[in-house]
């Protein structure tokens, strides 16, 4: 094809230059893409969402999101960094446990024992009571006549109380 032809050297250089420029631009784009991928620093809310579930390793009974000390601020920054690296919530918690021990979690790691013992105790208690109740319900064969009389005396409280209420109504 007959077009205006640049001298051969320039042609090659020009194409190379164009390619280089294109290449550089595309590098720049992809670099900025990766920058975009890292750019949004995790918000305070995202950090707090995880920090809420952790406890300060040094303070007493203080959740990590509200702890005001310098050390806690560093830990929250650590969470922020880990989030921006793409770590998941579980990974972050795991990391904290490895670093600082199980006490940073809000619940003991072996939840079975923690929940099982009170459940067993409560059920046992309910069982004991129910058994006791059943024993009450059975007519007692060992009661003597005196006890029957005693039982009669007690309900007779009621007529007195009834009369009492009547008296009071009248006294109004």
């Amino acid at each position: 094809m007959k077009a205006i032809q640049s001298p051969p050297l320039l042609r090659i250089t020009g194409r190379k230059l164009l390619l280089t420029i294109l290449f550089a631009l595309s590098l720049g784009f992809s670099a900025s893409f990766t920058a975009f991928a890292q750019a949004p620093t995790p918000t305070d809310d995202e950090v707090n969402r995880i920090a809420k579930q952790l406890y300060c390793p040094v303070c007493e009974s203080t959740p990590l999101d509200v702890c005001p000390t310098e050390a806690c601020r560093q830990w929250r920054d650590l969470i922020r960094t880990m989030l921006s690296e793409g770590k998941s919530e579980a990974e972050i918690k795991q990391y904290f446990v490895e670093q600082y021990g199980a006490r940073v979690l809000a619940e003991p790691p072996n939840r079975l024992v923690a929940y099982l013992v009170p459940a067993v105790v409560i059920l046992l208690g309910a069982l004991v009571l129910f058994r006791g109740f059943q024993m009450w319900m059975k007519p007692s064969l060992t009661e003597t006549g005196a006890v029957d009389a005693e039982r009669e005396a007690k309900p007779s409280q009621d007529p007195y109380v009834v009369r009492l209420e009547e008296e009071l109504k009248k006294r109004k």
């Binding site: 021990g101 940073v104 039982r151 009492l164």
Partner: protein
């Protein structure tokens, strides 16, 4: 000089209480009324002595006597006088003294009544009161002396009770000052209120103990201490509410209850105390649940001692502090000994605590109260286990763990729900015989009402299942309670011909315990509304914004306007205050002023939120951080807490309810007694 005098008086008081214990026991065993009377007089002496001691301590606190260790630890020159007085209970040593002072006041009040009919109780009530007092005063005298002074010795500056050789008295220029968290009105009243509750519960325990020892295990001891138990419960409940309010207002965590071991330690005696309050009604009416009542009051007493140590004001401590302090083992020893003694006594007197009537139906009122006891005890088991588990874990596995809110909430939620269901059913149950039919007939109307309300809430407010269940139960209890109230009022209206309002008034007046109780139940339901609101629907956000920028949450917009920082030299505080504009749905509502108070003497800061409270919700704004050049940006944390003000509202109604319930019904009392005596004589003749 003055401090030594104070210590001397304290020491004498200790000797007096010890004497009183021995005199009472001796007088009772040898049947010498004069000895018992001497013991009683000795106990009466403790209050003036302790008041004198307290007076000395307050004098030292308000007059900058920093050579006294306690004064150094809890006051400073920048504190106003009234705060210096409240610093009395701002530290361990002082709060122990405060406890003893309250104990002596109540014990004296109890012994000032007429004892003619209950002479045999007197020595043992004195014994329990004085042993407890001797313990607390002994703590002060031998381990945590509030009058210890600082001496410069060869080893450094140390506190001592008596002037050691080769040392001179050391007077610091200024004190460390009260923990700033304690300089808030709520925190000033909260410890005394809690202690009032704790100490008042010792009185019913003393009578229970006396009943066990003397064998007079009928309900006499309950009737005698009925009002004490109620007031104790009032103070304890209010102490807990105040603590919650303080945590909400001042701690800046956005919540009111953190399931911290310290909170739980004060909550546990409340649980057994509430169960006790209900359970004694059954003993009075039907002579049942006697074992339970004994057990509950013993537990309440020991939990009170446990709670007292753990909730020492001044520092947010925990089980950790209990374990590491020097007097932890002593408290533990005291609790262990009293627990063992009391349990041994119950076992010894087991037979005499037999029920007078039988339980015939699982749905009778007695059975439901029994279930009530079981539920409260279950919650107690959960709480106690949660507190003790970290200790056990460290002991057996060497691993430190934390038991936090998720455990407690999950474990107690079904139990609380069951309690609420009970609150709805029990008022409709009958004594003795009750079947599903009778109960069903009574309850179907309120149930329908509750279902309707819940359906409405489902449509208009939320789809959250847990919250809906909670709301259903709340509606059920409220409807049942109102229903019971109106039923009684209508009966009066028809019988007496009064109009409905007068009927309601006189109804309440005639049976204060029952209707006061209903009001308390209603107030609890209001509080439950608040709790469900904040626990279920709280939202938060945090962000750094520049001046003029806003944070949005729910329908609220919070715009940062300005920030100012200044010193208050006399108070020793640096205030940093932000001003924010608040909009809801675009409508301007006003301004809030969250601030940070930094106290120079104790080098601690307090975060005070700006709050806007309505019945619908609370907007809660915290100033977390700010740039030195304040115009460039500040970090705010915002909470929206739906329905939380129902919690505080409910607590006011609660107060009214207890006052009604506790109001004396003198006439009933006087007439009731002779009738009872006759019955006792009749049955004794059998």
């Amino acid at each position: 000089m003055i401090a030594n005098f104070g210590f001397g008086v304290l020491f004498i008081t200790f000797l007096v209480t010890v004497y009183s214990v021995f005199a009472a026991i001796y007088g009772d065993r040898r049947q010498i009324p004069a000895m018992v009377e001497s013991a009683r007089r000795a106990m009466l002496l403790t209050w003036p002595l302790l008041t004198l001691t307290a007076g000395v301590l307050i004098y030292l606190l308000t007059n900058n006597h920093y050579e006294v260790q306690f004064v150094y630890e809890v006051t400073s020159r920048s504190m106003p006088t009234y705060l210096k007085v409240t610093a009395w209970w701002g530290g361990q040593a002082g709060s122990l003294l405060f406890w003893s002072w309250l104990m002596s006041a109540f014990a004296s009040l109890v012994t000032l009544r007429k004892w003619d009919r209950d002479r045999e109780f007197l020595p043992w009530v004195i014994v329990v009161a004085c042993v407890t007092m001797a313990f607390f005063i002994g703590m002060n005298v031998f381990f945590e002396n509030p009058f210890a002074q600082l001496y410069q010795t060869t080893a450094g500056i140390e506190p001592h009770t008596f002037h050691p050789a080769n040392s001179i008295l050391f007077t610091p220029q200024d004190g460390r000052g009260l923990n700033p968290l304690l300089r808030h009105p709520g925190m000033i009243i909260h410890p005394p209120m809690l202690y009032l509750g704790f100490v008042s519960f010792v009185i019913p325990y003393a009578f229970a103990f006396a009943a066990l020892i003397t064998g007079r295990t009928d309900d006499r001891w309950i009737r005698l201490t009925r009002r004490w138990a109620l007031w104790a419960w009032l103070f304890l409940s209010f102490g807990l509410v105040l603590g919650s309010r303080w945590a909400y207002d001042v701690l800046g965590w956005g919540g009111f209850w953190g399931w911290d071991p310290v909170e739980i330690a004060a909550f546990m005696p409340w649980l057994t105390g509430t169960a006790f309050l209900h359970s004694v009604m059954i003993q009075e009416k039907r002579g049942m649940l006697k074992h339970w009542n004994m057990l509950l009051i013993i537990l309440t007493y020991d939990l009170v001692i446990f709670g007292t140590f753990l909730t020492r004001s001044g520092v947010l401590s925990s089980v950790h502090a209990f374990a590491q302090s020097a007097i932890g083992p002593l408290f533990f020893g005291f609790i262990g000994i009293t627990l063992i003694t009391s349990v041994a006594l119950i076992i010894y007197r087991w037979n005499s605590l037999k029920s007078e009537t039988e339980m015939t139906s699982l749905l009778s009122r007695e059975a439901l109260f029994l279930l009530n006891n079981l539920l409260f005890m279950s919650i107690l088991v959960v709480c106690f286990w949660g507190v003790i588990f970290p200790l056990i874990s460290e002991l057996f596995t060497g691993q430190k763990v934390t038991v936090g809110p998720p455990f407690y909430e999950r474990a107690t939620a079904p139990l609380f729900a069951a309690l609420m269901l009970l609150m709805g059913i029990a008022p409709l149950s009958a004594w003795g015989h009750s079947t599903v039919k009778t109960l069903g007939r009574a309850i179907w109307k309120p149930t329908i009402g509750a279902v309707v309300i819940t359906a409405l809430l489902f449509v208009t407010y939320t789809h959250h299942v847990g919250a809906l269940i909670g709301f259903f139960l709340i509606a059920l209890v409220i409807l049942v309670t109102i229903y019971e109230y109106l039923r009684g009022a209508y009966a009066r209206q028809r019988g007496q011909g009064e109009n409905i309002f007068v009927a309601l008034w006189t109804l309440t007046g005639r049976n204060r315990r029952r209707y006061g109780g209903y009001i308390i139940h209603l107030s609890m339901m209001l509080m439950a509304v608040g709790i469900i609101g904040i626990e279920g629907f709280q939202v938060e956000t945090q962000g750094r914004i520049g001046v003029g920028e806003s944070l949005k949450l729910s329908n609220y917009t919070v715009t940062y306007k300005e920030l100012a920082s200044w010193d208050d030299q006399p108070k020793g505080v640096n205030y940093t205050r932000a001003v924010v504009d608040v909009y809801r749905n675009g409508i301007y509502l006003g301004q809030l002023h969250p601030r940070r108070d930094y106290y120079y003497d104790s080098q601690q800061a307090m975060t005070i939120p700006g709050e806007r409270a309505t019945l619908r919700d609370d907007l809660y704004v915290l100033l977390i951080d700010w740039e030195p050049a304040s115009t460039t940006g500040a970090t705010f944390k915002i909470f929206v807490n739906p329905l939380v003000n129902w919690l505080w509202l409910g607590s006011f109604l609660f107060l009214a309810g207890i006052i009604i319930a506790a109001w004396p019904e003198k006439e009933m009392e006087r007439v009731a007694v002779p009738v009872r005596r006759t019955i006792q004589q009749t049955s004794a003749a059998d």
